[in-house]
């Protein structure tokens, strides 16, 4: 057991601290797509190697050798300083790694640089009204007509579609093939004629999601990643990226400290909530679970550094446990406030900018999105424990 990163990384940490001290005033105050401050900050981060760190320079990145510990030190120091770690979004976190792995040279040249610099915003066209947990049953079809794909169908839960310049999209190109082998991964501009975007308001009141309709959308034939029919493998590579990143324990730990502050400042009948043993026990219960996840995270980091350490199950449970835990943590904060906890919107009694109710609902969304908790349990039991899949229902006799 050795929890230190070693003296050889001390110098690197000092460099990061010095950068933060000199530059943190340029960190954007407001997140949000298209924010000029955020785009300028992203450029500074890339030039100094604190964003797009391992992406090759010919594609607009910093070009460093991958080093898990260096990445961890950067994220720790940025988190301590509470400054922005740069732009996120599905183009950066999901499409870029896929293009690096499976894209053609032309695609890498064309897309990666503007994407990581925040000049090209992407959305993800995966889910459909009839293809949620059973994503591979998607029916949006693309038919080849000369040198173009012609796309018809509908996507749903498409985050930021209304702001996106481009979409990476799963479509059925081989209707006769088994469902996992008939899908292709296409890239196209959201300005292409035939795309209709309708906002989908969620329970928080935001409209980050959309429904996207395609009617005879024509896309050049070569805007495909991987081969025809390989889209499922491409998509799965990205879903792996998505799951691990949904509920990091450090964020839960920082949120938990927020609950402790809240319990010190809120009172009920003149007594601070922290002095009420029932509430305190709930707090301690959640703290214990957050600490367990934090330890689990150290084990996962270690397994990435030290080949041969087995942490397969420890990784599989993160999405399930992390999202459920955050939902409960936010729920405790609301209960701590009682009636004040239901304040929302422009209510003058709002605490923490309304973030407790917002996150409470937002994390319910994350429990469902990115593979529901129930799908996670299927994955854990089947791929983690080797339990058999649910048998296919027998074909109905005398089906007409």
């Amino acid at each position: 057991m050795d929890l230190s990163f070693g003296a050889e990384y001390d110098e690197f940490r000092t460099e990061v601290k010095q950068f933060i001290a000199a530059s943190s005033d340029k960190s954007p105050k407001q997140a949000g797509i298209g924010n000029a401050e955020a785009i300028a900050w992203q450029k500074i981060l890339i030039n100094n190697g604190y964003a797009a760190r391992t992406i090759p320079t010919e594609y607009g990145g910093f070009g460093a050798e991958p080093d898990i510990i260096e990445s961890r030190i950067i994220s720790e120091e940025f988190s301590n300083a509470q400054i922005s770690t740069g732009l996120g979004g599905q183009g950066i976190s999901m499409l870029t790694p896929v293009l690096l792995e499976m894209g053609t040279e032309e695609q890498k040249q064309q897309f990666i640089k503007p994407t990581i610099h925040g000049e090209m915003i992407w959305c993800q066209g995966y889910s459909e009204p009839g293809a949620g947990s059973d994503l591979a049953s998607l029916t949006t079809k693309a038919e080849l007509d000369g040198d173009e794909w012609v796309i018809n169908g509908q996507k749903i839960w498409t985050s930021t579609a209304h702001l996106a310049d481009w979409i990476f999209c799963l479509v059925r190109t081989e209707p006769e093939a088994p469902k996992h082998q008939g899908i292709s991964f296409l890239l196209f501009s959201m300005d292409t004629p035939g795309i209709d975007i309708r906002p989908l308001v969620d329970m928080t009141g935001d409209a980050n999601f959309n429904e996207v309709f395609f009617t005879d959308v024509r896309v050049p034939k070569d805007q495909i990643v991987g081969q025809r029919g390989q889209g499922w493998q491409v998509a799965n590579a990205i879903l792996g990226h998505e799951r691990g990143s949904l509920a990091p324990p450090d964020a839960a730990l920082s949120r938990l400290n927020g609950v402790i502050k809240l319990m010190n400042s809120e009172s009920v009948n003149g007594e601070r909530v922290i002095d009420n043993p029932v509430f305190r026990d709930r707090l301690m219960k959640i703290q214990g679970r957050v600490l367990a996840m934090k330890c689990n995270d150290m084990r996962l980091l270690s397994a990435r550094i030290n080949k041969g350490q087995d942490a397969k199950l420890a990784g599989m449970i993160v999405k399930l446990l992390g999202t459920e835990l955050r939902h409960e943590l936010e729920s405790l904060a609301i209960d701590v406030m009682g009636e004040i906890g239901i304040a929302y919107g422009d209510n003058p009694y709002l605490r923490g900018n309304g973030s407790w109710q917002y996150q409470y609902m937002y994390f319910l969304g994350l429990i469902i999105g990115g593979g529901t908790s129930q799908i996670q349990k299927n994955i854990i039991s089947e791929r983690g424990l080797g339990m058999p899949r649910e048998p296919k229902p027998a074909a109905k006799a005398n089906a007409s």
Binding site: D281, M298, L321, M387, E390
Partner: protein, 355 residues
């Protein structure tokens, strides 16, 4: 950076696991639990592996290993529901005496397995049932409840003010009677004292704190092992048992129970490792981590052993399969040295969150 067991710790794990698998399987445990035999043979075998002296310093005649090594052993003892005085004689007693710097002369014979030291700490943690102890002029009167190990040669006894005394089990004025608990793999007893000669080991609450933390982590590791074994048995059973012409492991309801057990248990392994490591290496976190770890493992242990029993259906309820040994082991560990509510309050107190 390496978060996990060293190659030496994995070797230790392998050798203890091999011994317990081969020499102390469930039918041997049953014999000990039903009073058909004692745990002496088992403890003798563990002594051959150096286990009793694991935490005893080399100067005191032991191996001088770390709390993480002890956690590895505790986990296996829980996994195999092994009857042994490990937690009392090999974890709490050395932790107490080495922190206090008194009574260490006994530890050499603890390391060789000749001497067993039992632990009667309940008064120092949560006094129940008016067990009231008093000490007057080096003489102990009153009683201790649920002292660990009915076969010990000595006992370390905590008063309600966390003073710790050593008494000889054969001392005049001491009487000992076994107390039956749900978990027959561990022996507990009631000690009554009538002016018994008692040697003060420590009147420093810090010593008590260190000893308690060591015991909490060890019990957590025991629960981790017991829960892991219950889960493994549930997955195996579900893969064999057929109903409706299918193995029950193919039913989503059963799979989800197993997935929930994995999800709650897997982070516990890292938590136990970290808490054990913190005992020696991160003293500023050790008490908070030990308290949280024992409380959390108690909750998870209860959930896992109960769910594993449910996966077994009616057979889980029988003595035939014997799954109840693991259920009871976790139930026993949950109450010992502080129930979850008391330990969470201890964690809050150490962070300054209590008024």
């Amino acid at each position: 950076m390496e978060f996990g067991l060293s190659s030496e710790q994995i070797l230790l794990q392998d050798s203890v696991n091999r011994f317990l698998t081969e020499q102390v399987p469930l039918d041997v445990v049953r014999k000990i639990a039903t009073d058909d035999s004692s745990d002496a043979n088992c403890w003798g075998g563990l002594t051959d592996l150096g286990i009793p002296g694991l935490l005893i310093s080399e100067a005191n005649g032991g191996l001088g290993l770390s709390s993480l090594d002890a956690a590895v052993v505790s986990e296996l003892l829980g996994y195999h529901v092994t009857p042994s005085p490990f937690i009392s004689s090999s974890v709490i007693a050395p932790a107490t005496m080495q922190a206090a710097g008194r009574g260490e002369d006994l530890l050499g014979s603890v390391a060789t397995g000749e001497t067993r030291i039992g632990i009667a700490f309940a008064e120092g943690i949560a006094s129940r049932n008016n067990a009231g102890l008093s000490v007057d002029g080096g003489k102990l009167s009153g009683k201790s409840l649920f002292a660990l190990d009915s076969d010990a040669n000595y006992y370390l006894i905590s008063t309600s003010t966390q003073e710790i005394y050593l008494v000889d089990a054969s001392a005049r004025g001491l009487s000992r009677s076994s107390l039956t608990t749900v978990d027959r793999t561990r022996s507990t007893c009631e000690l009554t004292y009538d002016k018994v000669d008692a040697l003060l080991i420590s009147d420093d609450p810090e010593v008590f704190r260190v000893a308690l933390d060591a015991g909490l982590v060890s019990l957590s590791a025991d629960t981790l092992g017991a829960s892991q074994c219950a889960l493994d048995q549930a997955v195996t059973y579900a893969g064999q048992r057929e109903q409706f012409k299918r193995v029950i492991a193919s039913f989503q309801a059963v799979k989800h129970m197993c997935a929930e057990m994995v999800a709650s248990l897997e982070p516990c392994r890292s938590m136990v490792w970290y808490a054990a490591h913190a005992l020696e290496e991160i003293p500023q976190e050790s008490t908070m981590m030990a308290s949280h770890t024992k409380a959390h493992l108690s909750e998870v242990g209860q959930f896992v052993t109960r769910t594993a029993t449910e996966v077994h259906g009616g057979m889980g309820f029988t003595d035939l399969v014997g799954l109840h040994y693991w259920f009871k082991r976790a139930g026993f560990n949950r109450q010992l040295l502080g129930s979850p509510e008391l330990l969470r309050e201890r964690a809050a107190r150490i962070q300054g969150l209590t008024a």
